[in-house]
Symmetry: D2
């Protein structure tokens, strides 16, 4: 898993300034953070709908769309998917309820 995520995060970084006609990542970056944020919201909604009304294949596809756009947003902010996974790692050790309670609902 690690290699795929690292390699994809690197490609997103490399493609930031590519030709928007050739790179979807460059196209998103050119449209700016508002567009990238919209895409995250949209993909979240599509995954939510797939979760209640579709099968495993669609759930995986929508989840992959969501993680991809998440990684574009992270890159926009100078972040890396490993920062998010490390945050999840930090939270582990606290039990589920305790962890949840520590966040603002």
């Amino acid at each position: 898993m690690e290699q795929i995520l690292t390699s994809l995060q690197q490609r997103i970084r490399d493609n930031r300034n590519a030709d928007p006609k050739l790179s979807y990542v460059a196209k998103l970056h050119k449209r700016g953070i508002k567009k990238i944020a919209q895409k995250i919201g949209e993909e979240g909604v599509e995954l939510a709908i797939a979760c209640v009304s579709e099968g495993k294949k669609e759930v995986i596809g929508e989840a992959a769309d969501l993680v991809f756009h998440l990684m574009v947003a992270l890159d926009y902010h100078g972040l890396h998917i490993k920062n998010v996974i490390e945050e999840l790692g930090k939270r582990e050790g606290t039990s589920g309820i305790a962890e949840k309670a520590s966040r603002v609902e």
Copy 2:
């Protein structure tokens, strides 16, 4: 990264049938897939808002919330985060635009 994701996905699986009063995962499962789907949509929106109006720390926090609930949804469907990452791996190799074009917008 891999160890954190694998360990967290396992804990989610282990906690499915725990006491909902003690485990947030069990509480979500008890409320069902509609509630889990809602949470994904909500966390997607919160991340989108953080992306346009907050700093790195908040973006990481919201992204971690989103990935966590994504993993709960995957588990609900008998899936694992590695299925999603493998799907991302399959898509790599195609360029960004080509890959995007192959998906229904």
Copy 3:
């Protein structure tokens, strides 16, 4: 306001079975409720983003997009915007907090 809403809801109804190439409403209907639901989620996200990062004009524009797609969804379910407004009317009379408490969070 009433005339605009009634007239728009009627046009949406009339255009359900129009040529999808000529009518956006017909195009949405042809793609089905999943697509219409996605659009509601998307427009909700776009409005949320506009609320935190844009001015009045954009907020009005996004809100109009959202209400329009809401009306398409209502029509799909054989409903009318007046059903929603009547529901809001029923809720009035209860105070804000009481009203909220009566709903599942």
Copy 4:
């Protein structure tokens, strides 16, 4: 319909500065536009899920939740639901496809 919307929009305005313990509207305002924006996104997702998986009663309930929070957001921005309906009125007259084409997708 008009009277209900006007009366509700007025109550929202009146309750802005009420005691947050007694008024849900005041509570939302105190938490700020980010929270109000989140609620719009959340209610959009809940309505989307209801549209694909629930019946008329739930769709009406979720739609009412969404419109209510939309009206809170409008008030926050010094706007009124009539501004949104007038915008919908302006768009009418253009056909569905033409109207859609005139917006950024």
